[in-house]
Symmetry: C2
Subunit: 335 residues, 2 copies
DNA sequence: TTGTAAGCGTTATCAC
DNA sequence: GTGATAACGCTTACAA
């Protein structure tokens, strides 16, 4: 492997000059530039970034902490991050934690060890105190999840409001008994959505039934488990509000197994508006999140922290939208 | 930020000793170890890996070149890679290329610049010559795609054989006119599958109809486009063999839009056996790939190259399996 | 068992 | 314009 020294020797200049050429300084003679470039070509030289990185103390890399990439939702957020990062010359590194605190901690050390310039959390297992503590010492932002009480720039939707809107929509269309399938309190967004759901029920004068709240997670299989519990109920609820499209699909699929057809016998509402929502049969009525924009904005916030240290706490809320398709009965036909 | 020097000073020892403690050398006095560890604690010191990395010329990081993470197929392969990598102390970095040669090249430079110890390609836009050339100079392996003529260790299924099996299954169940939706020649696997499909037709004495081969890609929307072309045909084919589950779903969904019901009016076979295949309605009959194992094995091959330089060319073929569900009519009911 | 010092490949600060 | 040279934070001979 050729180094900068080899190039310098071959071009008959000093390493400093080679470095200048490499970094496009304007105080190098044209002939010298050419001589250096020729040497670079001939030696097939590629600068070793480790040296530069060590010297400059910046890696031009960021780490994205993601609980899973099996859910299309995160894929899209990551895409947004990556697009923004690339535009600023940053590389994106993905760490899939599986919501395992140990794995998360190990990756967090990458930031501590200066292997990355900053971290975007799509989820964390840390509590608000540890999370704030980390964010105080290293450039970090949170996306998708608004961790209660944590001092860290965050971009997400208003989960409370989104669930409120979704539940109201179900109520306005004549559904009274609404099951709620969520990921429990592992995710702050889930908790917040559950509160929005409860609020809507309350304002409609419907008393909440605890057993209708099913904490199963947000995978396909979580939906399957939720459906099993629903099938075991003495009477079917009017609707199921699942806090992810995957869960909704798991529910629908499992209910179908027992001859229960969505939209005829029961309504199901999803969350996220992943691409599959549009292609599933029935097409999913769901709450749409601006996934790409969330990621994009998250990177911008991070870059801000990396460059300015400006720690002004920001919580950016991006708009959600109710995407009306075929999995929810409309016009109160079940009244 | 505390450095190794600060720790040394605080502990009253030399940096060498600190380094020894850090790396668990056994020739350090217990008391010294403790003194150093105390200093580390007090300073909240975290070793800067850049220094070590520069010195050791290894990053303990690998790069995975993936065309997209929107397709669950790749998520699962990446999971396999990451699991294996983690077990060996390696971190996994994901580069999403979108099959853009420029983006791919830019990331390839990361290997050239020693930012990673090796690269796993889940897809490449390079031709066999460039690909071989790269693999000759840097630790690299290919997964999922067997690039014709490229000298690089590879792990994948036997795509030819898999498509052969799939097509035979359709034929044996009475389907004669079979449309084939593939990604065209961008992916070697696609090309190979198309040949398997053609082979099966030939051996059944059925003459291939060129217009039944639809090169659209492997996304949901590719399936949608394929369905549009199918609907424009003078008569509907008996079956559609899509070379990914996403495409199959796109086809099914779009056909449903026009009142054509899969399994009653037409059969659709997928490929990959993503999780959604099991949860889609109808449940997808598909060719299952051992995605996790492919990823896992790919890392092992890469580690081998990183450590031994043993460049023996290997092509590992893992078994596929026909997963029989509800999207294909069986027992020749359409004969 | 520990310390000294060279070196990894760069970039930055001086001189000249 | 260009060249020495120190420095980045660490590991590792070699010496003590």
């Amino acid at each position: 492997m050729a180094t900068i020294k080899d190039v310098a020797k071959k071009a008959g200049v000093s390493v400093a000059t080679v470095s200048r050429v490499l970094n496009h300084y304007d105080n190098v003679r044209q002939e010298t530039i050419e001589a250096v470039q020729t040497a670079i070509q001939e030696l097939d030289y590629h600068p070793n970034f480790l040296g530069r990185t060590l010297r400059r103390q910046e890696t031009m890399k960021i780490l994205v902490m993601v609980p899973t990439i099996s859910n299309q939702f995160y894929s899209r957020v990551v895409k947004g991050i990556q697009t923004a990062a690339q535009a600023h010359g940053y590389h994106t590194m993905l760490a899939i934690t599986g919501s395992d605190p140990e794995i998360e901690q190990e990756h967090i050390n990458m930031a501590r060890r200066k292997l990355v310039d900053g971290v975007i959390f799509l989820h964390t297992t840390m509590d608000a105190i540890d999370f704030s503590d980390f964010a105080e010492n290293y450039p970090a932002v949170s996306a998708c999840e608004l961790v209660e009480g944590a001092k860290i720039p965050t971009v997400s939707i208003d989960d409370y409001r989104a669930a409120l809107d979704g539940t109201r929509f179900l109520l306005h269309n004549g559904h009274k008994r609404i099951a709620f399938v969520s990921a429990g309190d592992l995710y702050d967004s889930s908790r917040r959505r559950r509160m929005g759901y409860a609020h809507a029920l309350r304002e409609a004068g419907i008393e909440a039934e605890d057993h209708l709240i099913l904490n199963e997670g947000f995978t396909f299989n979580a939906g399957k488990r939720a459906a099993a519990r629903i099938l075991a109920m003495p009477s079917l609820p009017d609707a199921v509000f699942a806090t992810s499209d995957s869960t909704a699909i798991g529910v629908i699929s499992a209910l179908a197994e027992h001859g229960i057809q969505v939209c005829r016998d029961i309504s199901v509402m999803g969350f996220d508006n992943n691409q599959i929502a549009e292609f599933y049969l029935p097409h999913l009525t769901t709450i749409s999140q601006p996934q790409f924009d969330i990621g994009h904005k998250a990177f911008e916030l991070l870059l801000n922290k990396i460059q300015n240290q400006s720690c002004e706490e920001q919580h950016i809320l991006l708009p959600h939208k109710l995407e009306c398709r075929n999995s929810v009965k409309q016009n109160g036909s079940s009244k």
